[in-house]
């Protein structure tokens, strides 16, 4: 990544979808950071007349049946979603990468054990397990983060393992072994830097999935009581859906835009980091492939 820093950013910005995604995420992050200033205090306290529709003066997203400001909920909810999404992803990626790296590099029995373990977690209905975990350990930010991380790490492990298995046979890894480098050193300094691209891509997509998971958990009523999350707002607005449709529609829109943006960014990263799809070298690669005899 060091070599292509300048061109990496240019490649990112060259894709319109990615730019839109970045802008949206920027807004979400700003909202999350600025929440205490934009809407100080508890966002879920009663502040105005109930059932105000969107675009009412002073309450751009309206209010709910108890007179609570929807806009405040949205902005504070951004915090919750991003926090939970990012932390859970971080944990899942860290655990998944380490497991996948060692499984992929060492192979043999270590690989067998790790893969059995991973497959078990992948087969188990993950959402149900997450609900179980949150329910049993009492709903809180911590239990939600833990639950999401626990159901998310298997896909990272599979990906990292596949990458490591393919890179392990490269000659520069063999050269490192012949040069006397230890297994751990090879894993972290030789192979890992070459697997960063797919890890980055999957991370951005995982944050999106984590946000979706968190909103589903909150929607069902298992969210942290002290924090207003978008999922919770949708769930709370559900009973009034015929009259106050905006109570569920707007938070859902927020989730949708955030997840969409993250997907755009993930695709953007993929295209920018992956030299195979870089436009310029694509033709050279095609010709080389023709000559080497692989299409």
């Amino acid at each position: 990544m060091k070599t292509v820093n300048g061109s990496f950013i240019r490649e990112l910005l060259r894709q319109p979808a990615c730019v839109i995604g970045l802008l949206i995420m920027l807004m979400v992050c700003l909202a999350a950071i600025a929440a205490p200033w934009l809407f100080p205090g508890d966002p879920w306290r009663m502040v105005a007349a109930p059932n105000l529709p969107p675009l009412s003066p002073g309450y751009i997203f309206g209010t709910d049946v108890l007179g609570r400001d929807v806009a405040a909920g949205i902005v504070h909810g951004a915090r919750v979603s991003l926090l939970i999404g990012c932390v859970a992803t971080l944990v899942a990626v860290l655990v998944g990468t380490v497991l996948g790296a060692f499984a992929g590099y060492y192979g043999g029995r270590i690989d067998d054990v790790i893969m059995r373990f991973t497959e078990i977690f992948q087969t188990i209905p993950s959402f149900l397990l997450a609900l179980l975990l949150v329910a049993i350990f009492s709903p809180s930010v911590y239990s939600i983060v833990l639950a999401i991380a626990i159901v998310s790490w298997p896909s990272v492990t599979r990906l990292v393992r596949a990458e490591f298995m393919s890179i392990r046979t490269r000659d520069y890894v063999k050269a490192a072994i012949v040069g006397g480098q230890s297994g751990t050193r090879i894993v972290f300094s030789q192979i890992l830097p070459n697997t960063l691209s797919p890890i980055v891509v999957i991370s951005s997509l995982m944050v999106a999935t984590a946000i979706l998971l968190e909103s589903a958990i909150s929607f069902l009523g298992l969210g942290d009581r002290n924090m207003v999350s978008w999922g919770f707002m949708i769930g709370a607005g559900r009973t009034m859906i015929r009259q106050n449709w905006w109570l569920s529609a707007i938070p859902g829109m927020a989730i949708f835009l955030t997840v969409l943006a993250l997907n755009f960014i993930g695709d953007g990263f993929n295209r920018a980091l992956n030299p195979r799809t870089a436009r310029k070298r694509k033709v050279a690669r095609l010709i080389a492939a023709m000559e080497k005899g692989t299409s």
Partner: protein, 588 residues
């Protein structure tokens, strides 16, 4: 008289931001019935693009034909619509590609895939089709057609798959066969068989063949006419003998000069005392086997014996070649010596120390003394590390101080012919030949006593190959290293090695100097290998030449390098390299 295939002024354009304007520029060539025209060039010459253009199989949106005509029996293929061209493909002209391992649909049986050609051209009667398929499988000398037709590609070997591809191409008896490096991915002996097969097709059916290759030896064997390509243009086109013996264009001359010739130069001769001294490396009855899946018709899971009690000595300062085809065990032996692999039994003694069971810190201490050079310059350097780090990293790990490591690096860079500024750059900024030099530098910086070179020039263009081989010779002379040189090409081995050990199915079957091997091969397999060497038949002077050894500074060498090897001196050094009994059968 009309030609079978006539290409007139073909230009294939590349997209705007490419290195050059056109992949192929103003190309004209002709192929007649009953003749083989070889198109030869290095990578980037446009030869493959030409072949794909004739078949109209160029990747769309990337390469477009901007001008020219391609006439097959007078009909301009470029003016045909999609459906008409589809009907031509497979029936009037057909193509065979380079890589047999990926050329067939993995989930369809071989018989179905051959029959598909008939189906595509209107032959609906199942019985007639099946009969034709069986007939063709037999024509291609494939074993047991009745059973083979129901096999899946993964059950066949590379050579067998290639025959299936040729069968698919020939079943409708097209007038023109385009072969895009069809034997490059195959073993030398298999290559010889396939070339013979293609040649017999030409003579029997009177087809015209457009044969793409990079190997002048192959050209010498099969071509009637040759076209030499460089940077998208044909620089020379004429009868094979004319072009090979009297090349006109400087590029052609350069290419022909770069072709590795079987050199019977005299190799290292050791004095009596040196002969009796301990060899630097002594391999004794080394064995290794894998549990694997054999790609054969009948056997499935079996134990594959990669190395079968192999014994070999390498004296101090000597270069021994390991010559063999795929599956011979040469790569496995090299990896065992470097301790990338653990052997099952037998011993490896290096400088008096037994190393096959070393572990931990003892192994770590050994590492700098035995280093390796790899085959693929594009995967032997970590793309994320700078060259400076790649070269010095291991030395520093072994306790060399950073200053000294850098100093060594600069010396070594000079030795391999690279500039000191290379240290701050990344591998992707270098060409294949340069990357190979970096790999050599990385090995040398540790000051090893023995280098195992695993096909170090196989993946390089012929002209670059020549440079790197010269570099290896130079290094060897200057540093007095010993080398185990693994290759599949006898010509290349003869350039660099003092002795060559020929491996077949996990055993060393013969071990001698290049000259002895060439002039009087003892083992049947060796004879097969020599016969299969491309270029041997028709143009012997493209082949074996006794080239007097020259120093890189132009003077002829004296002393140890130029004495003739006494006829039996070689035997002593293969003391433990037993030749199998003469009636050892070679399975085809």
């Amino acid at each position: 008289m009309s030609h079978l295939l006539e290409i007139r002024n073909l230009t294939v354009a590349l997209p705007d931001d490419s290195d050059r304007r056109n992949a192929v520029e103003n190309l004209s060539l002709q192929v007649d019935r009953g003749e083989t025209v070889c198109v030869v060039g290095e990578s980037g010459s446009g030869k493959s693009v030409t072949a794909h253009a004739v078949m109209q199989l160029l990747p769309r949106h990337a390469l477009t034909i901007s001008s020219g005509e391609i006439l097959l029996e007078g009909v301009n293929l470029l003016e045909l619509d999609t459906e008409a061209m589809r009907q031509y493909r497979g029936a009037r002209l057909a193509m065979v590609f380079q890589e047999p391992m990926t050329a067939l649909n993995p989930v369809m049986t071989v018989g179905d895939q051959i029959e598909e050609t008939l189906l595509a051209h209107g032959q609906r009667d199942g019985r007639i089709s099946r009969a034709k398929v069986l007939e063709l499988l037999a024509d291609m000398h494939l074993p047991d057609p009745q059973t083979l037709q129901h096999c899946y590609p993964f059950e066949l070997s590379g050579g067998q798959r290639q025959r299936v591809v040729i069968a698919m191409a020939m079943i409708m008896q097209p007038g023109l066969l385009i072969a895009d490096e069809p034997t490059t991915a195959l073993d030398v002996t298999t290559q010889a068989q396939i070339l013979k097969l293609i040649d017999s097709l030409k003579r029997r059916l009177g087809i015209g063949i457009l044969f793409i290759t990079h190997d002048f030896g192959v050209v010498a064997d099969i071509a009637d006419r040759v076209a030499v390509m460089q940077d998208g243009r044909v620089v020379e086109f004429g009868a094979c003998n004319d072009v090979l013996r009297h090349p006109q264009h400087p590029y052609t001359k350069k290419l022909i000069a770069a072709v590795p010739k079987l050199s019977t130069r005299n190799g290292l001769v050791l004095t009596q005392t040196q002969r009796q001294a301990e060899p630097l490396l002594r391999i004794y009855k080394l064995s290794k086997s894998y549990k694997g899946r054999r790609a054969g018709l009948l056997s499935r899971t079996s134990v594959v014996s990669a190395l079968n009690e192999v014994s070999l000595d390498i004296a101090d300062g000597e270069t021994v070649g390991l010559l063999g085809e795929s599956g011979s065990g040469k790569t496995t032996l090299g990896q065992c010596v470097v301790r990338l692999l653990d052997s099952d039994s037998g011993s490896i003694v290096f400088a008096g120390q037994s190393i096959e069971k070393l572990k931990g810190s003892a192994l770590h201490r050994l590492r700098p003394q035995i280093q390796m050079i790899f085959q693929d310059p594009y995967s032997s350097l970590n793309p994320r590390h700078k060259v400076g780090r790649i070269i010095t990293e291991n030395a520093i790990l072994h306790g060399v101080k950073r200053n000294e490591a850098n100093q060594r690096m600069l010396e070594v860079l000079q030795l391999v012919g690279l500039d000191a500024t290379a240290t701050e750059r990344y591998p992707h900024e270098f060409s294949g030949g340069q990357r190979q030099r970096i790999g050599i530098a990385r090995a040398l910086v540790l000051q090893p006593r023995l280098i195992v070179a695993d096909e170090p020039v196989s993946a390089l263009d012929v002209s670059v190959q020549k440079q790197v081989l010269a570099l290896l010779l130079d290094i060897r002379r200057k540093l007095g290293l010993s080398m185990l040189f693994i290759t599949h090409d006898l010509r290349v081995a003869s350039q660099v090695c003092d002795r060559i050990a020929i491996m077949h199915k996990g055993k060393i079957v013969e071990c001698n100097t290049a000259e002895e091997i060439y002039r009087s091969p003892e083992h049947a397999y060796t004879r097969t290998l020599i016969d299969a060497m491309p270029g041997r038949q028709r143009a012997p002077d493209v082949q074996a030449q006794a080239v007097p050894e020259q120093q890189s500074d132009g003077t002829r060498s004296q002393g140890v390098w130029s004495q003739t090897v006494p006829a039996h001196a070689g035997d002593k050094f293969c003391e433990h390299g037993q030749v199998s009994p003469p009636n050892f059968k070679i399975a085809t």
